[in-house]
Amino acid sequence: MGHHTEVQAKTKAQYEYDRHHNAVHMKKQVVNFAIMIFLTFLAFAVVVADFSPYLIKPFILLLAGIQVVLQLYSFMHMDDKNGHHIGVISTYVWSGAMIIFPVFLAFVTVVWW
């Protein structure tokens, strides 16, 4: 514990490698963002296009699911193996997702009058 972390200068090669790596990573993020925009657009489009609700509802829920996973793993860096205890964090996030599933199930099935 403490604030006196060792200050280490990177070598020039390491520094340039890291800068490059960051830039490449940022480009990936922009691509992910483009995918999210596309998914959003698609979701609005199928609703406006007025297909059968039985088709649209599961479809847009699926799109939302994909978009959320993209957010979690790219923008929020859950894919980053260097994140501190990221495995434990993933366990908590997915436990939370699992616990809310029966809640939704109960509220749409057995709360009825």
Binding site: V7, F44, I60, V88, V93, G96, I100, F104
Partner: protein
Amino acid sequence: MEETKFTPQTWPNHAEQATAEGKNKFVGIWIFICSDIVLFASVFATYLSLRNKGPAGMEFTTQSLFELPLAFVMTMLLLTSSLTSVYAMYHMKNYNIKGVITWMAITVLLGLGFLGLEIYEFYHYVHIGFGYTQSAFSSAFFTLVGTHGLHVIIGLVWITCLIVRNAKRGLNLYNAPKFYAASIYWHFIDVVWVFIFTVVYLMGVLG
């Protein structure tokens, strides 16, 4: 206590997790988000079971109420603000405080735009008679979207505080975790909105 001064060459790769406090903040914001997931799920579940429920002869339904263009613009604003905060984090990795502040400020502006539209939307609904106490549906709707709005406000105040506090003094291992945690929180707000626009607005228009 004096802080260690850094240069781009000495700035560590994972500055937000370089100190014990940074590691704690990183894990802490995630654990907090896990509890927020369940909070939103509870409000969502209630909304689903009270959707379109009201006193006899209630004229408002999701189909008559919601307008997709507004929801679409709000979605785009918030989604873009998510990307701009990624840019801020990119500049943090490169030890570029100007970049961090600029992109965080843009994030705040986009968030304010989103919030403005939401307030307009709420004002519009109240104006046509769909107030908070009008029906179970209205209470559930305003509570769900309002809870998200409250999270947006908290995020905006938080990020603004960070910008004001740190614009002059630059990045260090003490404030890097704070910026990082704020950005994670901001992404989470976007995650919740993805479900709101899908379940409330899109599925609402479908009926």
